[in-house]
Structure formats: structure tokens, C-alpha cells
Symmetry: C2
């Protein structure tokens, strides 16, 4: 029976040319996370359902697993993780005694959401998370480390201009407090929607939770001021306010901002933005969201913040933390849709040896061995009877940079012919000089 | 509500010190696969159930997914892959027109099996696969590439002695044919069990499929001969036989063996072993299985072979291939159980800066920035008020190599103190000379 293979919506899959780019992105992120001492963990994709649902997650979006034709109850308590934070919380409380705190971990892996099929919504996607978890307490410098590491990673990906919008929940709450708002959580969750709804709709929502026209006006001004003014102007302007909460938040923001600059973060790429709130009540201090210039309406590609207690569902011990996440699948999908991804290779091979027949096999094997030992990705064209034209076409299709040809004449003269398929140049050289020509 | 986190049997999870080793293994394997031009693919963990079950897989071991509290029928047609070969077959037939053949792919990822919980049996594990797929035909040199690449990977992992046992199904079938066996498939599937059952039991099984005492004796001799003699002795001895099938298999084995030696494979690590069969009818030519010396009874850690048709369930086109797989999770679990894994680090950090207080923050940030830019993994101890003893204990616990201390005196004299925690040595040096001391 023939089963026709078809794509499954929400599950992205790459052809080799795009996979090489995704892998390169992953390596760059991992390298930068490691440079800042974030050690990798790699928990199972599968967790117990009671762990996944402990916090009252939207269980309609959680996938459970069960054996096809298995008996009733087999593994019926297991499901697929929907983020990397719940597994971190479970991990930290499970191995508390074996970890050294503050615990810095990175986790680059896939998560699963039972989303309704929809464009740009993924049911399987990569997240690249870092978190620093303290045992009992955690200094503010942890926030600096998370932000600078996210910045270094995104910068090295080199996809163009982006802005990390930074704020502090204490600053935002303090401001609302200072203008007389009492239902602060509800107000913040409306502010969080400001980029997604029209101005009138926003006002309506504020009115519906009982804010006065005057208060609403102040909030709207606050948002506008935050978007228009520079980070330094914002820090200066609000230092006059005398709400204690606002001041604490502002001091934290100032410490964070100046430390980031000292660590080499380019001012163009960060902005203090007082109306960033990240909705979630989970966050208690620093929060951030990152947008690609030219793709603002496509949502944040990296976000995170400071939270008071990571693992309250799993242990009575207190684990405050700060974390950040790069939404790798979303980032690639946004870059692809704004035309920022150029694929240029279809294979890991850098060199292809033309196969002139089995008489030359031994010489070819000698060269393959030599090049691979020198960490040059190399393959021999497999079919020893194929015409040279066909072999070069294969190399061209796969965008392999270099081709090596060894035939009768070359063996006699103890040389090889090296062809650069990009520049069109061709050299007759000694085998031992190959490394001087291949970059 | 507090949910107590517990391990799930069959789902391996690493503490950081072991994860660093697993990641290093993955990188070495990936590097070697790439050196031979195997380009990565990364298909979803989720496939359609009809794709997974097309070949009549043991559906009792396949996991299906469904949304917790989802409506009847939501995603009910999806499951988790149980190997990386079915996804490859589906991928090749789905994107046939966009791939260049022969298609060399690597895939290092997890697979899922609904196994009954049992020691050493995993329900989630990493496989590291390579395959070369031809369109219509595929030269024998592809087998050389797969075997040499598997060898290079295992060799660089540097865990000690292993032996790749190589055989050819044509050779084995040819031999059985030459001694008058007619039910060759059944006989081979019994030979495949030779390491798992006692001698008497094996004989019983042969008798039960109707082999004569005399034939059984010849098979037992054949197995013994193959185990005792060297590769060269085996190739020489059987070249006298005049079965055409046997001769074809033997010629392929000879070509494979001599090519591998030319490519630098050390004779000690490969052995032609005529009784290796890999049970599966799937394989048609080259087959191999790899055992770690000193852990023979723990099963093969890498295996594979040549097959006639990868994707017959998904397309009428003919895709012959050859592949090999390193069972990464099993390999690590075997090495762990025979005491071959020494963990020596608990973090990616190579350097820790002692935190002498916020007065020194700026200088510390300058040095962090300098070291990270020079690709040295560095962290600052977070708590600026912790005693030095506590800070050094943290570095010791995590087995960080180097510690840097900057206090009043150091700032005045424009130096830093660098302590090597392994050797105990301590240096007072200029900041710009740090890279000469940190390895």
C-alpha cells in the first residue's frame, strides 16, 4: 500500500539549505549562552501530566501521549511539554541537592502546543531559554547577565536591526500607584494589549475596569512619552517622582541599563520602554520584549524577565529567578517572511572530488583522508562511471565551493586540479598545497 | 497544591556534569558526519500515524498524541516517530523533486518507543543516523562512506576499544545456498540470535525449521570460523567457493574492507564477521554491528547496512540506500555502566571573577567583556556581599578552572590576580596578558 506523505500544519520542516541556516543559528546561540556560563540541560520532551498541569495551564493546548492499541491506562499520565520553564521548575526542585546555586542553565529544544492550525502558529517549535535561579535570593546582576547574553546572541546572528525593550514591573506599578490606580494588575494586562488593539478599544477597556477619563489620559501620555523619549530621558524624567515602588523600579532599570552599556551593548539595540509589561503576573521586576525593525507587527522574538518564585508548585523552598528566551522558530519564520534569509548551500561538503573511475580510487581516498583530517568537509562523487559534466552539475546544484579533479595526466605529473566553482578559477597544484587554496 | 516531581522510567535525564559530556559526544558525531558531506535534516518528532504504521510496525509500541480535553478527533491521526528511518523515507518521497541525489543526510535526534519499563530499555532516546540515498541506483562506494564515517565518529569519541563487525547478506545467503539450505530467511533470523541463546537452544531452533544435523554442524562451524579468523583469512578462504551469490558478496566485502583501510581505518577496529546478519529482511548487502570490548553482552552500539528500497511505502520510485546509526543514549548508558565516563565539569564557565563589591563592578565588567570577546566562557560571582571563601567554594563545586580577583590593591597596581584552581598556582598579571595564562 502506498501512503502519500503530506505536510502537517503547524509542524515546520526544512529542506537542507534552510536546515543549515537553522543549525548555524542554534550553534551561535549555544556558543553565546555558554560564553556566559549557562550550562546546558536537556530534559525529556515528555513530562507527567500532573507536572504540566500543576499551574492550571490551558489543558486544551497540552498534548497527552498514549500507546496505539495499548491497554487502558498505559502511560496515560504522560504528556508533551508546552514550554521549557515548567521542566526547569520540575528539574530544579527534583535535583535541588545536587545543583550548585545560583544555577545558570540554557535549554535549546522543542516544545509542543495543541494549537488550532493557523498561519504563523506552530504546534512544534524551538525555544532557546536561559535562566539564572537563586536559592532564597538572587542579586540584580543576574538580570544584566540574561539581557547581555540575549543581546550578544541576537547581535551575532546578524539579521539586522532589532530593539530589546526593557522595563521593570515595579516602575510600572509604582507609576500607576502614583496616579491613583488601585486595580494595578488589571490595568497592566490592558496596557499589555496596546499594540494589538485600536486606541478607542483600549480606552473602552480602561473604562470598563473603572478608570476615570483623567487617569486614562495620564496612562496614554505615559505610553506615548515612553515610546518617544530616549532611555536616558526616561530615567532622568521619572527620577523626580516620589513613589517608593517607582523609585525602586527605576533604580533597578538604571543599574541594568548602565551595566549593559559597560558590557558593550550598543545603545541602538536597547530601549527603556515604560509601557512594556509582558502581561503575565508571573513577572515581578525586569521585563523585556524584542522586536525586529521592519517587522514590528510580527510580535516579539525574544522576551523574559525576573520572577519571584520558580518552583512554588513543586517545592516549599524559594527559588527566585530571571530568564530570557529566544523564539528560534518564530525568529526564522519572521526573517524568512521579510526576505532576510538567503540560503546558499545545500550540503555540508566544501569540496567534491570528481570520480574518474576506479583506477583513481586509491589516490582519491588518500586526498579525502588528508582533507577530512584537516577538517575540510569533503566527498567523492559516488558514481565512477558518470560523465564529468554530470558530476560538475551535482556540485553546482549543491553549491559546493571546490572541485578536485585527478586523472591520468595529474597522476603522472603528481598534481591535482582544483576548481573554485564560485570564482571560476582553476589551479594545478601539489596535493600538499591544497590547504593554501581551500578556505 | 504541591506536585512532587518524580523520574519517569525509560526517560533518561542528565545532571549538568553528564549533560556536558553528552553534548560533547553529539558535537563530535555531528562534526564527523559533516566532514563526510552528510547534511543535517531535522524532521518533526510528530508524524502522521498512517506514515508511521505503513510498514506494519509494532503499533503497540507507537505513541499517539491527543489534546488533553480536546474534542474527539482533534489531531487523533498523529504520533511520535519510533525511528529516524521512516521519517527519512517520508522526507525523501515528499521532497524528491527538490533534493539532489545521491542524497547524504545526517539526523541526530530523539525517537520514542512505548516500551514496558525495564532496565536499559529506553522510551525516549537519541539516535545519530547517516544515510546515502540514490535515485534508481547507488554505487558501492556509498557503503565505504557510511562505515568510515561511523568509524571516525566512534574513534574520536575516544572511549576505548570497539569492533565494527562487517558482513554482507549476499555472502551469508550464498554460503547457506552452497550448503543446501533452502529456507534462507528463516535460517538467517535464527543465526541472528546466536549471541543471545545457548548452543543447545540454537540447535533446537535450527532443527525446528527442518535443517539436518549435518547442515547445522556446517553452520555452527561457519560461525566459529568467522569469529576466530582474521578478516584477511576469511576473505581468502571463501574465495575458493563457487556460489555466484557468495562470490558477489565476498567481492563487495573485499572492496569495502580495502577501501576502509585506505581511508585510515585501523584494522583493530573492524572485523569481517560472516555470521553477522542483522535479522531484518530489510537489508540486502553490507550489514554491520558494533560492540564495545569489555561490554559485549550489552548489545550493539552502532549498526546499519545496505537496503534495496527505502521508500516503497510512499512512492513507486526506487530509492536504494545505505545507512548507519550510532545509538547515542545506549552508548552513553553502556559507558556509564562500565565506568568509562568521568565527569569533570558542572558548568560551561572556564573563568569566575570573584565579586569584591559594587565598587569594582565596572572593572569586572570590562574584564568579562574582554574574555567573552576572546571566546573564554566567563561568569562573575553574582552576590557582591558574599565572603571570598564562599565564592571560591562555588567555583570549586562547579569545577571552574580559573578564578580572577580584583580588589583595591589590584586596581591601584593595575593588575589582576589569576588563580588556577587545578594546579593551585597564582599569578599577578596585567589584564592584557590574561589570554597567555588561560587555556
Amino acid at each position: 500500500m502506498i501512503v502519500k506523505p503530506m505536510p502537517i500544519s503547524g509542524f515546520r520542516e526544512n529542506l537542507p539549505e534552510f536546515q543549515l541556516i537553522e543549525d548555524n543559528y542554534k550553534e551561535i546561540i549555544k556558543k553565546n549562552y555558554s560564553l556566559s556560563g549557562f550550562t546546558p540541560i536537556d530534559t525529556p520532551v515528555v513530562e507527567r501530566l500532573d507536572v504540566l498541569l500543576a499551574k492550571g495551564a490551558d489543558d486544551n493546548e497540552v498534548y497527552a501521549i498514549s500507546r496505539v492499541n495499548g491497554e487502558e491506562g498505559d502511560d496515560s499520565d504522560l504528556g508533551l511539554r508546552f514550554d521549557l520553564t515548567v521542566p526547569l521548575a520540575r528539574f530544579v526542585s527534583q535535583y535541588e541537592g545536587e545543583l550548585t546555586f545560583p544555577f545558570r542553565r540554557q535549554h535549546i529544544s522543542r516544545v509542543y502546543r495543541g494549537e488550532r492550525p493557523q498561519k504563523g502558529r506552530f504546534r512544534e517549535f524551538y525555544q532557546a531559554d536561559i535562566d539564572i535561579i537563586g536559592n532564597g535570593s538572587l542579586p540584580l546582576f543576574a538580570d544584566v547577565e540574561v539581557l547581555s547574553t540575549i543581546y550578544n546572541s541576537l547581535k551575532e546572528l546578524d539579521f539586522g536591526q532589532f530593539v530589546i525593550n526593557i522595563n521593570n514591573k515595579k516602575f510600572l506599578s509604582g507609576f500607576l500607584e502614583s496616579i491613583g490606580v488601585t486595580n494595578i494588575k488589571e490595568t497592566i494586562s490592558i496596557i499589555d494589549k496596546k499594540d494589538k488593539v485600536r486606541h478607542e478599544k483600549l480606552k473602552e477597556m480602561f473604562l470598563s475596569i473603572g478608570l476615570s477619563e483623567q487617569t486614562i489620559e495620564k496612562i496614554v501620555e505615559f505610553i506615548k512619552f515612553g515610546e518617544e523619549k530616549t532611555s536616558t530621558e526616561i530615567l532622568t524624567y521619572y527620577s523626580q517622582f516620589d513613589s517608593l515602588l517607582l523609585k525602586t523600579g527605576l533604580d533597578e532599570l538604571k543599574y541594568l541599563y548602565t551595566s549593559l552599556i559597560s558590557l558593550g551593548v550598543d545603545e541602538q539595540y536597547i530601549k527603556i520602554n515604560p509601557s512594556i509589561s509582558r502581561g503575565l503576573n508571573y513577572y515581578t521586576g525586569t521585563v523585556f520584549e524584542t522586536f525586529i525593525t521592519g517587522a514590528l507587527n510580527m510580535g516579539s522574538i525574544s522576551s523574559g524577565g525576573r520572577y519571584e518564585d520558580l518552583a512554588s508548585n513543586f517545592t516549599k523552598n524559594n527559588f527566585p529567578g530571571v530568564g530570557g528566551s529566544i523564539g528560534l522558530t518564530r525568529l526564522l519564520s519572521v526573517l524568512e517572511s521579510i526576505g532576510k534569509i538567503e540560503t546558499n548551500k545545500k550540503t555540508t561538503s566544501k569540496v567534491m572530488l570528481v570520480n574518474m573511475g576506479d583506477d583513481f580510487l586509491k589516490k582519491n581516498l588518500e586526498i579525502i583522508r588528508f582533507l577530512r583530517q584537516n577538517l575540510i568537509n569533503t566527498e567523492l562523487y559516488l558514481d565512477s562511471e558518470a560523465k564529468i559534466v554530470k558530476q560538475l552539475k551535482y556540485a553546482n546544484n549543491k553549491k559546493i565551493n571546490y572541485v578536485i579533479i585527478i586523472g591520468e595526466t595529474e597522476i603522472q605529473n603528481d598534481i591535482v586540479v582544483l576548481k573554485n566553482l564560485y570564482s571560476g578559477e582553476q589551479f594545478e597544484i601539489k596535493q600538499e598545497n591544497l590547504l593554501d587554496y581551500i578556505f
